[in-house]
Symmetry: C2
Subunit: 231 residues, 2 copies
DNA sequence: CGCGAGTTTGAGGCTGTTCAAAGAGGGTGG
DNA sequence: CCACCCTCTTTGAACAGCCTCAAACTCGCG
Protein backbone atom coordinates (compact mmCIF):
# COMPACT_ATOMS: atom_id res chain seq x y z
CA UNK A 1 0.00 0.00 0.00
CA UNK A 2 1.09 3.49 -0.81
CA UNK A 3 -1.41 5.54 1.08
CA UNK A 4 -3.46 6.39 -2.01
CA UNK A 5 -7.19 6.35 -1.45
CA UNK A 6 -8.69 4.05 -4.12
CA UNK A 7 -12.05 5.76 -3.99
CA UNK A 8 -10.51 9.10 -4.96
CA UNK A 9 -8.97 7.55 -8.06
CA UNK A 10 -12.14 5.63 -8.83
CA UNK A 11 -14.18 8.80 -8.91
CA UNK A 12 -12.22 10.02 -11.95
CA UNK A 13 -13.81 9.34 -15.35
CA UNK A 14 -10.61 7.76 -16.60
CA UNK A 15 -10.76 5.01 -13.98
CA UNK A 16 -14.42 4.67 -13.08
CA UNK A 17 -14.95 1.47 -15.06
CA UNK A 18 -12.19 -0.45 -13.32
CA UNK A 19 -12.98 -3.31 -10.93
CA UNK A 20 -11.69 -3.28 -7.36
CA UNK A 21 -9.12 -5.84 -8.37
CA UNK A 22 -7.87 -3.89 -11.35
CA UNK A 23 -7.69 -0.70 -9.34
CA UNK A 24 -5.61 -2.20 -6.55
CA UNK A 25 -3.26 -3.69 -9.11
CA UNK A 26 -2.97 -0.23 -10.64
CA UNK A 27 -2.19 1.45 -7.35
CA UNK A 28 0.23 -1.23 -6.17
CA UNK A 29 3.05 0.19 -8.27
CA UNK A 30 2.17 3.83 -7.68
CA UNK A 31 3.60 6.48 -5.41
CA UNK A 32 2.18 9.80 -4.29
CA UNK A 33 3.98 13.12 -4.54
CA UNK A 34 3.25 16.63 -3.38
CA UNK A 35 4.38 19.49 -5.65
CA UNK A 36 4.64 23.00 -4.15
CA UNK A 37 3.67 26.11 -6.11
CA UNK A 38 6.26 27.04 -8.71
CA UNK A 39 7.98 23.63 -8.69
CA UNK A 40 8.13 21.29 -11.69
CA UNK A 41 6.97 17.67 -11.64
CA UNK A 42 9.74 16.99 -14.15
CA UNK A 43 11.82 19.01 -16.57
CA UNK A 44 11.66 19.21 -20.35
CA UNK A 45 14.36 16.99 -21.85
CA UNK A 46 14.72 14.68 -18.87
CA UNK A 47 14.46 10.93 -19.50
CA UNK A 48 10.84 9.86 -19.17
CA UNK A 49 11.04 7.49 -16.21
CA UNK A 50 7.47 7.92 -14.92
CA UNK A 51 3.98 8.81 -16.03
CA UNK A 52 1.52 10.68 -13.83
CA UNK A 53 -2.01 11.44 -12.74
CA UNK A 54 -2.97 14.80 -11.27
CA UNK A 55 -5.18 14.30 -8.22
CA UNK A 56 -5.35 17.84 -6.93
CA UNK A 57 -4.04 21.27 -7.90
CA UNK A 58 -3.18 22.64 -11.34
CA UNK A 59 -0.18 22.39 -13.68
CA UNK A 60 0.97 24.65 -16.49
CA UNK A 61 2.89 22.64 -19.11
CA UNK A 62 5.51 24.89 -20.66
CA UNK A 63 7.86 24.42 -23.57
CA UNK A 64 10.98 26.50 -23.93
CA UNK A 65 12.42 27.31 -27.34
CA UNK A 66 16.19 27.08 -27.97
CA UNK A 67 16.37 30.88 -27.79
CA UNK A 68 14.64 31.07 -24.44
CA UNK A 69 11.08 31.97 -25.36
CA UNK A 70 8.40 30.16 -23.41
CA UNK A 71 4.87 29.07 -24.21
CA UNK A 72 2.20 27.23 -22.27
CA UNK A 73 1.27 24.14 -24.26
CA UNK A 74 -1.64 23.16 -22.07
CA UNK A 75 -3.03 23.18 -18.55
CA UNK A 76 -3.32 19.93 -16.60
CA UNK A 77 -6.49 19.71 -14.53
CA UNK A 78 -7.29 17.27 -11.71
CA UNK A 79 -8.08 13.83 -13.15
CA UNK A 80 -5.83 14.28 -16.18
CA UNK A 81 -2.97 11.91 -16.88
CA UNK A 82 0.23 13.48 -18.17
CA UNK A 83 3.88 12.76 -18.88
CA UNK A 84 3.31 9.46 -20.64
CA UNK A 85 5.95 10.29 -23.21
CA UNK A 86 7.29 6.74 -23.16
CA UNK A 87 3.97 5.39 -24.39
CA UNK A 88 4.37 7.74 -27.33
CA UNK A 89 7.83 6.35 -28.09
CA UNK A 90 9.71 9.29 -26.66
CA UNK A 91 12.57 8.80 -24.25
CA UNK A 92 12.42 12.30 -22.84
CA UNK A 93 9.68 14.64 -21.70
CA UNK A 94 8.66 17.21 -24.31
CA UNK A 95 7.62 19.85 -21.76
CA UNK A 96 7.82 21.00 -18.15
CA UNK A 97 4.71 20.83 -15.90
CA UNK A 98 4.87 23.63 -13.34
CA UNK A 99 2.55 23.71 -10.34
CA UNK A 100 0.38 26.82 -10.60
CA UNK A 101 -1.18 25.79 -7.29
CA UNK A 102 -0.14 23.33 -4.63
CA UNK A 103 -0.57 19.97 -6.36
CA UNK A 104 -0.79 16.25 -5.65
CA UNK A 105 0.27 13.72 -8.28
CA UNK A 106 0.26 9.94 -8.55
CA UNK A 107 3.44 8.55 -10.13
CA UNK A 108 3.99 5.26 -11.95
CA UNK A 109 7.26 3.95 -13.41
CA UNK A 110 6.99 3.83 -17.22
CA UNK A 111 7.81 0.10 -17.14
CA UNK A 112 4.37 -0.72 -15.79
CA UNK A 113 2.58 1.07 -18.67
CA UNK A 114 2.89 -1.87 -21.02
CA UNK A 115 1.69 -4.48 -18.54
CA UNK A 116 -1.07 -2.19 -17.33
CA UNK A 117 -2.68 -1.62 -20.71
CA UNK A 118 -2.39 -5.33 -21.42
CA UNK A 119 -4.15 -6.25 -18.21
CA UNK A 120 -6.64 -3.39 -18.36
CA UNK A 121 -7.63 -2.84 -22.01
CA UNK A 122 -10.19 -0.19 -21.12
CA UNK A 123 -7.32 1.92 -19.86
CA UNK A 124 -5.64 1.78 -23.25
CA UNK A 125 -8.84 2.92 -24.93
CA UNK A 126 -9.28 5.70 -22.41
CA UNK A 127 -5.71 6.81 -22.87
CA UNK A 128 -6.14 6.88 -26.61
CA UNK A 129 -9.30 8.95 -26.35
CA UNK A 130 -7.49 11.32 -24.03
CA UNK A 131 -4.67 11.87 -26.51
CA UNK A 132 -7.22 12.23 -29.26
CA UNK A 133 -9.00 15.01 -27.42
CA UNK A 134 -5.68 16.67 -26.76
CA UNK A 135 -4.81 16.49 -30.43
CA UNK A 136 -8.11 18.08 -31.34
CA UNK A 137 -7.59 20.86 -28.85
CA UNK A 138 -4.13 21.46 -30.29
CA UNK A 139 -5.61 21.65 -33.81
CA UNK A 140 -8.29 24.02 -32.60
CA UNK A 141 -5.67 26.29 -31.07
CA UNK A 142 -3.61 26.10 -34.25
CA UNK A 143 -6.62 27.20 -36.25
CA UNK A 144 -7.26 30.05 -33.85
CA UNK A 145 -3.63 31.16 -33.96
CA UNK A 146 -3.70 31.14 -37.74
CA UNK A 147 -7.00 32.88 -38.37
CA UNK A 148 -8.06 34.94 -35.34
CA UNK A 149 -6.70 38.11 -33.90
CA UNK A 150 -5.43 38.33 -30.37
CA UNK A 151 -8.65 39.45 -28.68
CA UNK A 152 -10.67 36.49 -29.97
CA UNK A 153 -7.88 34.04 -29.19
CA UNK A 154 -7.76 35.35 -25.64
CA UNK A 155 -11.53 35.03 -25.34
CA UNK A 156 -11.35 31.41 -26.47
CA UNK A 157 -8.53 30.67 -24.04
CA UNK A 158 -10.46 32.15 -21.11
CA UNK A 159 -13.61 30.24 -22.08
CA UNK A 160 -11.63 26.98 -22.17
CA UNK A 161 -10.25 27.78 -18.73
CA UNK A 162 -13.62 28.39 -17.10
CA UNK A 163 -14.87 25.16 -18.70
CA UNK A 164 -12.24 23.06 -16.96
CA UNK A 165 -11.30 25.26 -14.01
CA UNK A 166 -14.33 27.46 -13.36
CA UNK A 167 -15.85 27.88 -9.91
CA UNK A 168 -19.25 29.52 -9.66
CA UNK A 169 -19.38 32.63 -7.48
CA UNK A 170 -22.15 35.08 -6.74
CA UNK A 171 -20.96 37.59 -9.35
CA UNK A 172 -19.69 35.18 -11.99
CA UNK A 173 -17.33 32.30 -12.68
CA UNK A 174 -13.87 32.43 -11.18
CA UNK A 175 -10.80 30.75 -12.65
CA UNK A 176 -9.92 28.51 -9.77
CA UNK A 177 -6.13 28.82 -9.70
CA UNK A 178 -3.58 31.65 -9.81
CA UNK A 179 -3.08 32.81 -13.36
CA UNK A 180 -1.09 35.84 -14.45
CA UNK A 181 -1.32 38.08 -17.52
CA UNK A 182 2.00 36.56 -18.55
CA UNK A 183 0.45 33.06 -18.39
CA UNK A 184 -2.46 34.11 -20.57
CA UNK A 185 -0.01 35.70 -23.00
CA UNK A 186 1.97 32.46 -23.24
CA UNK A 187 -1.25 30.55 -23.90
CA UNK A 188 -2.37 32.81 -26.74
CA UNK A 189 0.91 33.72 -28.38
CA UNK A 190 1.05 37.38 -27.46
CA UNK A 191 2.63 39.67 -24.85
CA UNK A 192 1.51 40.40 -21.31
CA UNK A 193 1.05 44.02 -22.34
CA UNK A 194 -1.53 43.19 -24.97
CA UNK A 195 -3.34 40.82 -22.58
CA UNK A 196 -3.44 43.52 -19.94
CA UNK A 197 -4.86 46.07 -22.36
CA UNK A 198 -7.55 43.68 -23.57
CA UNK A 199 -8.57 42.66 -20.05
CA UNK A 200 -8.81 46.33 -19.08
CA UNK A 201 -11.13 46.90 -22.01
CA UNK A 202 -13.23 43.87 -21.06
CA UNK A 203 -13.41 45.10 -17.49
CA UNK A 204 -14.74 48.44 -18.74
CA UNK A 205 -17.43 46.51 -20.64
CA UNK A 206 -18.35 44.55 -17.53
CA UNK A 207 -17.30 41.23 -19.05
CA UNK A 208 -14.68 40.34 -16.44
CA UNK A 209 -13.09 41.47 -13.21
CA UNK A 210 -9.32 41.29 -12.99
CA UNK A 211 -6.85 41.22 -10.14
CA UNK A 212 -3.37 40.06 -9.28
CA UNK A 213 -3.20 36.51 -10.70
CA UNK A 214 -6.99 36.45 -10.54
CA UNK A 215 -9.73 36.44 -13.14
CA UNK A 216 -13.49 36.45 -12.69
CA UNK A 217 -15.76 36.11 -15.72
CA UNK A 218 -18.96 38.08 -15.13
CA UNK A 219 -20.55 37.61 -18.55
CA UNK A 220 -19.57 34.31 -20.14
CA UNK A 221 -22.18 34.76 -22.87
CA UNK A 222 -20.77 38.13 -23.81
CA UNK A 223 -17.31 36.62 -23.96
CA UNK A 224 -18.57 33.76 -26.11
CA UNK A 225 -20.18 36.20 -28.55
CA UNK A 226 -16.86 38.00 -28.78
CA UNK A 227 -14.99 34.75 -29.35
CA UNK A 228 -17.39 33.46 -32.01
CA UNK A 229 -18.23 36.36 -34.26
CA UNK A 230 -15.83 38.96 -32.96
CA UNK A 231 -18.65 41.30 -31.85
CA UNK B 1 -10.39 -10.66 -51.37
CA UNK B 2 -10.48 -7.02 -52.23
CA UNK B 3 -7.66 -6.72 -54.66
CA UNK B 4 -5.28 -5.17 -52.14
CA UNK B 5 -1.73 -6.40 -52.39
CA UNK B 6 -0.72 -7.58 -48.88
CA UNK B 7 2.98 -7.03 -49.54
CA UNK B 8 2.39 -3.34 -50.23
CA UNK B 9 0.70 -2.93 -46.89
CA UNK B 10 3.31 -5.07 -45.14
CA UNK B 11 6.10 -2.79 -46.33
CA UNK B 12 4.69 0.08 -44.27
CA UNK B 13 6.27 0.59 -40.83
CA UNK B 14 2.85 0.58 -39.20
CA UNK B 15 2.13 -2.98 -40.32
CA UNK B 16 5.53 -4.59 -40.76
CA UNK B 17 5.34 -6.61 -37.57
CA UNK B 18 2.07 -8.34 -38.43
CA UNK B 19 1.95 -12.06 -39.27
CA UNK B 20 0.50 -13.25 -42.57
CA UNK B 21 -2.56 -14.38 -40.70
CA UNK B 22 -3.10 -11.05 -38.95
CA UNK B 23 -2.56 -9.15 -42.18
CA UNK B 24 -5.10 -11.13 -44.16
CA UNK B 25 -7.62 -10.69 -41.34
CA UNK B 26 -6.92 -6.96 -41.52
CA UNK B 27 -7.44 -6.77 -45.26
CA UNK B 28 -10.52 -8.99 -45.28
CA UNK B 29 -12.76 -6.12 -44.20
CA UNK B 30 -11.02 -3.46 -46.25
CA UNK B 31 -11.88 -1.83 -49.56
CA UNK B 32 -9.73 0.17 -51.94
CA UNK B 33 -10.60 3.60 -53.28
CA UNK B 34 -9.09 5.95 -55.83
CA UNK B 35 -9.32 9.68 -55.11
CA UNK B 36 -8.78 12.11 -58.01
CA UNK B 37 -6.93 15.40 -57.56
CA UNK B 38 -9.04 18.00 -55.78
CA UNK B 39 -11.55 15.51 -54.41
CA UNK B 40 -12.11 14.84 -50.69
CA UNK B 41 -11.93 11.39 -49.09
CA UNK B 42 -14.61 12.62 -46.69
CA UNK B 43 -15.96 15.96 -45.53
CA UNK B 44 -15.51 17.75 -42.23
CA UNK B 45 -18.60 17.18 -40.05
CA UNK B 46 -19.71 13.97 -41.74
CA UNK B 47 -20.37 10.95 -39.50
CA UNK B 48 -17.17 8.95 -39.12
CA UNK B 49 -18.14 5.65 -40.74
CA UNK B 50 -14.68 4.58 -41.88
CA UNK B 51 -11.00 4.93 -41.10
CA UNK B 52 -8.28 4.95 -43.74
CA UNK B 53 -4.74 4.24 -44.84
CA UNK B 54 -3.06 6.24 -47.58
CA UNK B 55 -1.24 3.91 -49.96
CA UNK B 56 -0.26 6.35 -52.66
CA UNK B 57 -0.61 10.05 -53.36
CA UNK B 58 -0.86 12.97 -50.95
CA UNK B 59 -3.67 14.54 -48.91
CA UNK B 60 -4.05 18.02 -47.44
CA UNK B 61 -6.24 17.92 -44.33
CA UNK B 62 -8.11 21.21 -44.09
CA UNK B 63 -10.32 22.69 -41.40
CA UNK B 64 -12.78 25.43 -42.19
CA UNK B 65 -13.74 28.01 -39.59
CA UNK B 66 -17.40 29.04 -39.15
CA UNK B 67 -16.61 32.29 -40.99
CA UNK B 68 -15.12 30.53 -43.97
CA UNK B 69 -11.39 30.81 -43.32
CA UNK B 70 -9.40 27.72 -44.09
CA UNK B 71 -6.21 26.22 -42.70
CA UNK B 72 -4.23 23.09 -43.47
CA UNK B 73 -3.99 21.08 -40.27
CA UNK B 74 -1.57 18.52 -41.63
CA UNK B 75 -0.43 16.65 -44.71
CA UNK B 76 -1.10 12.90 -45.02
CA UNK B 77 1.78 11.01 -46.60
CA UNK B 78 1.76 7.47 -48.02
CA UNK B 79 1.74 4.94 -45.16
CA UNK B 80 -0.14 7.23 -42.77
CA UNK B 81 -3.45 6.22 -41.29
CA UNK B 82 -6.08 8.95 -41.00
CA UNK B 83 -9.72 9.58 -40.26
CA UNK B 84 -9.91 7.37 -37.20
CA UNK B 85 -12.09 9.87 -35.40
CA UNK B 86 -14.28 7.13 -33.99
CA UNK B 87 -11.34 5.66 -32.06
CA UNK B 88 -10.97 9.10 -30.51
CA UNK B 89 -14.62 9.09 -29.41
CA UNK B 90 -15.77 11.47 -32.10
CA UNK B 91 -18.83 10.72 -34.21
CA UNK B 92 -17.86 13.08 -37.00
CA UNK B 93 -14.69 13.88 -38.89
CA UNK B 94 -12.89 17.00 -37.63
CA UNK B 95 -11.38 17.89 -41.01
CA UNK B 96 -11.50 17.34 -44.76
CA UNK B 97 -8.67 15.41 -46.51
CA UNK B 98 -8.28 16.74 -50.05
CA UNK B 99 -6.20 14.90 -52.64
CA UNK B 100 -3.30 17.16 -53.65
CA UNK B 101 -2.26 14.42 -56.06
CA UNK B 102 -4.05 11.39 -57.44
CA UNK B 103 -4.38 9.15 -54.38
CA UNK B 104 -5.14 5.59 -53.37
CA UNK B 105 -6.64 4.82 -49.97
CA UNK B 106 -7.58 1.67 -48.06
CA UNK B 107 -10.91 1.99 -46.22
CA UNK B 108 -12.16 0.10 -43.16
CA UNK B 109 -15.56 0.44 -41.48
CA UNK B 110 -15.11 1.94 -38.00
CA UNK B 111 -16.84 -1.09 -36.46
CA UNK B 112 -13.81 -3.27 -37.10
CA UNK B 113 -11.45 -0.92 -35.22
CA UNK B 114 -12.35 -2.34 -31.83
CA UNK B 115 -12.02 -5.97 -32.82
CA UNK B 116 -8.84 -5.23 -34.74
CA UNK B 117 -6.94 -3.67 -31.87
CA UNK B 118 -8.13 -6.49 -29.62
CA UNK B 119 -6.86 -9.13 -32.00
CA UNK B 120 -3.72 -7.23 -32.97
CA UNK B 121 -2.40 -5.41 -29.89
CA UNK B 122 0.70 -4.17 -31.68
CA UNK B 123 -1.60 -2.19 -33.92
CA UNK B 124 -3.06 -0.37 -30.92
CA UNK B 125 0.41 0.54 -29.71
CA UNK B 126 1.40 1.72 -33.18
CA UNK B 127 -1.74 3.77 -33.47
CA UNK B 128 -1.07 5.38 -30.11
CA UNK B 129 2.49 6.24 -31.08
CA UNK B 130 1.19 7.71 -34.30
CA UNK B 131 -1.23 9.98 -32.51
CA UNK B 132 1.48 10.86 -30.04
CA UNK B 133 3.79 11.99 -32.80
CA UNK B 134 0.99 13.97 -34.34
CA UNK B 135 0.31 15.67 -31.01
CA UNK B 136 3.96 16.60 -30.70
CA UNK B 137 4.01 18.01 -34.19
CA UNK B 138 0.92 20.05 -33.36
CA UNK B 139 2.60 21.39 -30.22
CA UNK B 140 5.73 22.21 -32.20
CA UNK B 141 3.70 24.15 -34.72
CA UNK B 142 1.83 25.92 -31.91
CA UNK B 143 5.14 26.98 -30.43
CA UNK B 144 6.33 28.21 -33.81
CA UNK B 145 3.11 30.13 -34.41
CA UNK B 146 3.42 31.76 -31.00
CA UNK B 147 7.09 32.69 -31.02
CA UNK B 148 8.44 32.88 -34.56
CA UNK B 149 7.88 35.33 -37.35
CA UNK B 150 6.47 34.26 -40.68
CA UNK B 151 9.74 33.67 -42.50
CA UNK B 152 11.04 31.18 -39.92
CA UNK B 153 7.67 29.43 -39.71
CA UNK B 154 7.65 29.04 -43.47
CA UNK B 155 11.20 27.68 -43.38
CA UNK B 156 10.17 25.10 -40.78
CA UNK B 157 7.12 24.11 -42.79
CA UNK B 158 9.16 23.62 -45.96
CA UNK B 159 11.79 21.60 -44.08
CA UNK B 160 9.07 19.33 -42.67
CA UNK B 161 7.72 18.86 -46.18
CA UNK B 162 11.03 17.83 -47.73
CA UNK B 163 11.52 15.43 -44.81
CA UNK B 164 8.34 13.52 -45.61
CA UNK B 165 7.81 14.37 -49.26
CA UNK B 166 11.22 15.22 -50.65
CA UNK B 167 12.60 13.67 -53.83
CA UNK B 168 16.27 14.13 -54.60
CA UNK B 169 17.02 15.82 -57.92
CA UNK B 170 20.27 16.91 -59.51
CA UNK B 171 19.93 20.51 -58.34
CA UNK B 172 18.26 19.91 -54.98
CA UNK B 173 15.31 18.33 -53.22
CA UNK B 174 11.89 18.66 -54.81
CA UNK B 175 8.61 18.62 -52.91
CA UNK B 176 7.01 15.66 -54.56
CA UNK B 177 3.43 16.84 -54.96
CA UNK B 178 1.68 19.96 -56.24
CA UNK B 179 1.71 22.66 -53.59
CA UNK B 180 0.63 26.26 -54.07
CA UNK B 181 1.60 29.46 -52.28
CA UNK B 182 -1.91 29.43 -50.89
CA UNK B 183 -1.30 25.97 -49.39
CA UNK B 184 1.92 27.10 -47.74
CA UNK B 185 0.10 30.15 -46.41
CA UNK B 186 -2.61 27.97 -44.88
CA UNK B 187 0.06 25.79 -43.27
CA UNK B 188 1.88 28.69 -41.66
CA UNK B 189 -0.94 31.04 -40.78
CA UNK B 190 -0.20 33.83 -43.21
CA UNK B 191 -1.33 35.05 -46.64
CA UNK B 192 -0.32 33.83 -50.07
CA UNK B 193 1.11 37.30 -50.74
CA UNK B 194 3.57 37.08 -47.88
CA UNK B 195 4.57 33.53 -48.87
CA UNK B 196 5.18 34.67 -52.43
CA UNK B 197 7.33 37.58 -51.28
CA UNK B 198 9.42 35.37 -49.01
CA UNK B 199 9.90 32.70 -51.65
CA UNK B 200 10.98 35.36 -54.13
CA UNK B 201 13.56 36.58 -51.62
CA UNK B 202 14.76 33.00 -51.03
CA UNK B 203 15.03 32.46 -54.76
CA UNK B 204 17.21 35.55 -55.02
CA UNK B 205 19.46 34.06 -52.34
CA UNK B 206 19.66 30.76 -54.21
CA UNK B 207 17.91 28.83 -51.43
CA UNK B 208 15.00 27.57 -53.52
CA UNK B 209 13.55 27.53 -57.00
CA UNK B 210 9.85 28.22 -57.33
CA UNK B 211 7.26 27.54 -59.97
CA UNK B 212 3.56 27.01 -60.40
CA UNK B 213 2.60 24.62 -57.60
CA UNK B 214 6.23 23.56 -57.51
CA UNK B 215 9.05 24.01 -55.05
CA UNK B 216 12.65 22.86 -55.24
CA UNK B 217 14.94 23.34 -52.25
CA UNK B 218 18.47 23.96 -53.47
CA UNK B 219 20.12 24.67 -50.13
CA UNK B 220 18.46 22.76 -47.30
CA UNK B 221 21.26 23.69 -44.90
CA UNK B 222 20.80 27.36 -45.61
CA UNK B 223 17.08 26.99 -44.99
CA UNK B 224 17.72 25.15 -41.75
CA UNK B 225 20.04 27.90 -40.55
CA UNK B 226 17.31 30.40 -41.31
CA UNK B 227 14.72 28.31 -39.47
CA UNK B 228 16.89 27.75 -36.40
CA UNK B 229 18.57 31.03 -35.60
CA UNK B 230 16.82 33.31 -38.03
CA UNK B 231 20.05 34.11 -39.89
C1' DC C 1 6.43 49.27 6.09
C1' DG C 2 9.22 48.43 2.35
C1' DC C 3 10.33 45.60 -1.31
C1' DG C 4 9.43 42.82 -5.35
C1' DA C 5 6.47 40.71 -8.47
C1' DG C 6 2.76 41.59 -11.18
C1' DT C 7 0.03 45.04 -13.65
C1' DT C 8 -1.28 49.20 -16.21
C1' DT C 9 -0.73 52.56 -19.72
C1' DG C 10 1.51 55.46 -23.29
C1' DA C 11 4.18 56.35 -27.60
C1' DG C 12 6.42 54.87 -31.61
C1' DG C 13 7.83 51.60 -34.95
C1' DC C 14 7.80 47.33 -37.59
C1' DT C 15 5.98 43.21 -39.50
C1' DG C 16 2.58 41.50 -42.13
C1' DT C 17 -2.15 42.32 -43.93
C1' DT C 18 -5.27 44.36 -47.16
C1' DC C 19 -6.37 46.19 -51.45
C1' DA C 20 -5.19 46.47 -56.18
C1' DA C 21 -3.52 45.17 -60.55
C1' DA C 22 -0.64 43.08 -63.74
C1' DG C 23 2.03 39.00 -65.30
C1' DA C 24 2.89 33.93 -66.34
C1' DG C 25 2.07 28.99 -66.76
C1' DG C 26 -0.55 25.22 -68.45
C1' DG C 27 -4.45 22.91 -69.92
C1' DT C 28 -8.33 22.77 -73.21
C1' DG C 29 -11.01 23.30 -77.14
C1' DG C 30 -11.34 24.80 -81.59
C1' DC D 1 -1.06 23.54 -83.14
C1' DC D 2 -2.27 27.73 -81.52
C1' DA D 3 -5.11 30.84 -78.99
C1' DC D 4 -7.63 31.53 -75.16
C1' DC D 5 -8.82 31.36 -70.49
C1' DC D 6 -8.47 30.23 -65.83
C1' DT D 7 -5.76 29.74 -62.02
C1' DC D 8 -1.73 30.72 -59.75
C1' DT D 9 1.79 34.04 -58.91
C1' DT D 10 4.19 38.40 -58.46
C1' DT D 11 4.73 43.01 -56.94
C1' DG D 12 3.44 47.68 -55.23
C1' DA D 13 1.42 50.90 -51.88
C1' DA D 14 -1.02 52.07 -47.84
C1' DC D 15 -2.71 50.80 -43.56
C1' DA D 16 -3.28 48.43 -39.05
C1' DG D 17 -2.61 45.45 -35.33
C1' DC D 18 0.59 44.26 -32.25
C1' DC D 19 5.18 44.43 -30.30
C1' DT D 20 8.89 46.91 -28.17
C1' DC D 21 10.51 50.17 -25.15
C1' DA D 22 9.66 52.88 -21.19
C1' DA D 23 7.85 54.25 -16.90
C1' DA D 24 4.63 54.51 -13.24
C1' DC D 25 1.57 52.15 -10.23
C1' DT D 26 -0.37 48.66 -6.77
C1' DC D 27 -1.07 44.70 -4.42
C1' DG D 28 0.43 41.46 -1.05
C1' DC D 29 3.94 39.22 1.38
C1' DG D 30 7.75 39.05 4.65
Amino acid sequence: MTGIDPSVVRSLPMFEQLSDDELSRLLASATLRRVPVGKAVFEQGQPSTHFFLLLHGRLKVTQVTPDGQQIIVRVVHPGDIFGFAKALQRDDYPGTPLAAAESLVVCWPTEVWGTLIEQIPSLAINAMQTIGQRLQEAHTRLREMATEEVERRLAHAVLRLIERAGRQESTGVRIDFPISRQDLAEMTGTTLHTVSRILSAWEALGLVTGGRQKLLVRDAEGLRALAEDGT
